[in-house]
Symmetry: C2
Amino acid sequence: MQAQLIALDWGTTSLRAYRLGEHGRVLDHRSLSAGIMQLPTTPRLIAGQACSNGFELAFDEACGDWLDAEPDLPVIACGMVGSAQGWREAAYQETPASVGALSDGLVAVRSVRGVDVHIVPGVLQRSALPNVMRGEETQVLGALDSLSADDAREPLLIGLPGSHSKWVRAVDGCIEHFDTFMTGEVYAALSSHTILGRTMQRNEAFDAAAFDRGVGVSRSPEGAAGPLSTIFSSRTLGLTGVLNGAAQPDYLSGLLIGHEIVALTHLLAQAGRPLPSVVLIGSGPLLERYRRALNANGFAHVTLSEQATERGLWQVAVQAGLMDSLSMAAQRPSHVEN
Amino acid sequence: MQAQLIALDWGTTSLRAYRLGEHGRVLDHRSLSAGIMQLPTTPRLIAGQACSNGFELAFDEACGDWLDAEPDLPVIACGMVGSAQGWREAAYQETPASVGALSDGLVAVRSVRGVDVHIVPGVLQRSALPNVMRGEETQVLGALDSLSADDAREPLLIGLPGSHSKWVRAVDGCIEHFDTFMTGEVYAALSSHTILGRTMQRNEAFDAAAFDRGVGVSRSPEGAAGPLSTIFSSRTLGLTGVLNGAAQPDYLSGLLIGHEIVALTHLLAQAGRPLPSVVLIGSGPLLERYRRALNANGFAHVTLSEQATERGLWQVAVQAGLMDSLSMAAQRPSHVEN
C-alpha cells in the first residue's frame, strides 16, 4: 500500500519512525535508540554526500530506505528534535494550543537528501510556575482525535506518565493547562543516589502489595508530611523488619506516584473542579501503576489511549496540508519536468 | 584544668572530640574526618600493640593523647558509631525517650588501650511510619538542658536541619515524637543527578531573593502541587528568562526547605496543635535558611541552641554515673593497690 507520510517521534533517548498510509494507518514502523542525546557518530555517504551530522545520520537510519522508495513523501517530527539542543528549534506555542496552532507553528529543516523535515513546536504555559512540553502536545492531540466528538468536548484530564509526567487539561479539543511532575526522574535519583537505594534489592516482578502500601501511605494522615518525609519510611520499614529489600523499590514507586495523584486531587479541589475522566497515554507497566494509584484516589473513569503519537502527527500534517503536494504530485503527468 | 569526661560525636562522615571539665565546660576539642564510613586504614602501634582496626585508629587519633595524660577519664560517644555498621551496636531506645532511658541503654566497647567507650543508643519511634535517629537524641537532650526549667516544660519543636532533618516534639524534657525529612539528601540528588542540575550554576554567595522566592512558591496555591511538581519550575523559570542559572540552586533550596516547613504546619494543624516555639540545633548558613522559611510560615519564636551535643553527652554521662569512678579514683589514697 502506498504511503502518505513519514512521522517521527524524536525524543531525548529514542527515535520512533512510522510510515503512514491513508487515514494515518500505520504501514510500517521502527524504533531506534538515536534520541537527540545519543545520535550516531560514524560518518557515511547520504545521497552521494559524505555526512557526519548526527541528525542527518539518525534521520537516514530511521527512514532513508522509505524515502529512497518514495522520495516525495512528506516528513513530520515531534519531540526534543525541535528544542534548542535539537536539529532545528521550533519556538514554543503558548496555551491554549490546538491542532491548528501547532500546524501553523511547524518549522522545516531541509535534510541533505533535499527532503524537508517539518518539526512540531512544543507548548509553553506562562503560568506563575511556567510549564513546557515537547512531544506530549502531539500525543494529547492524537488522543483527543481518537475520542468520540462528545467525549472530546468534555473537560478531560490526560495523563502522560514518564520520567516527567504531564497532566493536561483539555477542553474542546484544545490544550488549556498542564502540570509537570518529575516523579520518574526523582524515583531514579532516589534509588541510585541516596541512602534509600542501599537497602533496596532490584527485582523483575511487580510487587503489587508493596506498591499499594506506598499509595496508601501517600493518602493517609501520615502522607500529609509529603514525599520529602514519607520516602524515609522505605528505609525505616526495612530497619523494623516490615518491608524487605525486594519490596522497597515498588513501595517507593507507590509512594511517589501516590503523592503525585494526591497532589492532583488537591489542585482539582483548589480549583473547585470534580474529579474528571482520565485518559492515560503511553504503554507498558508504568500505566498500570498509574491506573492503580488513580483508582485508589477515586478516579473512577480511566481509559488508555493507543497510537496517540502517530495519530497526533497525522492530524497536524493533515491540518498543515503536508500531504496536498503529494496528491498533486500523484496527479501530475509523469512526463512533465520539474 | 583537670578534665572529667571525653565526649565523642561520631557520625557517618565526621568525628568530633571534646575534653570536658567541671560542669561539662569544654576544655579542648578537635574535629576529624574519621566518620564510621571513612575510618583510618594505616595500621600502627596503640598501647604497645599493632593495631589495624579502623575504630581503634580513629579513637586513638581523636583522643589518644588526652588519655595518655589522664588515663582514668571516662569516655562517652553518640551517633552512628552505635549503629549496626558502627564499633558496637547500641540497640535503639523507644520513644518516649529521656536522659534516664538513654543512660540506661549505654553500651560499652573496650578499646585496645583498656578504656571503655560508652555508646549512647539511638531512638526508635514505632509509629505507622517508623522513625529512627542516632546522635540527634543526644543533641535534643543537650538543647533541653540549656533551656530554663519553665521553657523545657512547654511543648517545643526542636529542629535539626541537615542531610536528614529531624523535627522533634519534646514535652517535659522527653523526646515524645519526631519526623524525618530527607531534604538535604534530596537536594543533593536533584542537583547532581537530574536535569535540574544542568542549568544550575554553583555560586558561593547566598541568593536570599531566590531562596525566598522558592519558599514563597511552596506556600502559594501552586505549592499544593507538592515538591515533585514545583521543582520543575527551577528549570522552566530558567527557560522563560525569569531565573538565571546562578539563582537556581538557592531557589531549589528555598522550594524544598519551604515544602518541609509547610508540611510541618500541615502535621501540626492535623493534630490540632498551635505553632509551637522552635529551637534549632546546628550551625552555619543552613540554620539561617531554616529560620527564614520558619518565619515566612508564621513561626514567630525561633531560637538557636549552641553546644547541644557536648551538653547532651555530659548529661547522659552524669546520669549514668560515669564520672563517679573518677571522683572515687581521685579520692583513693595513691598507695592502695587495685
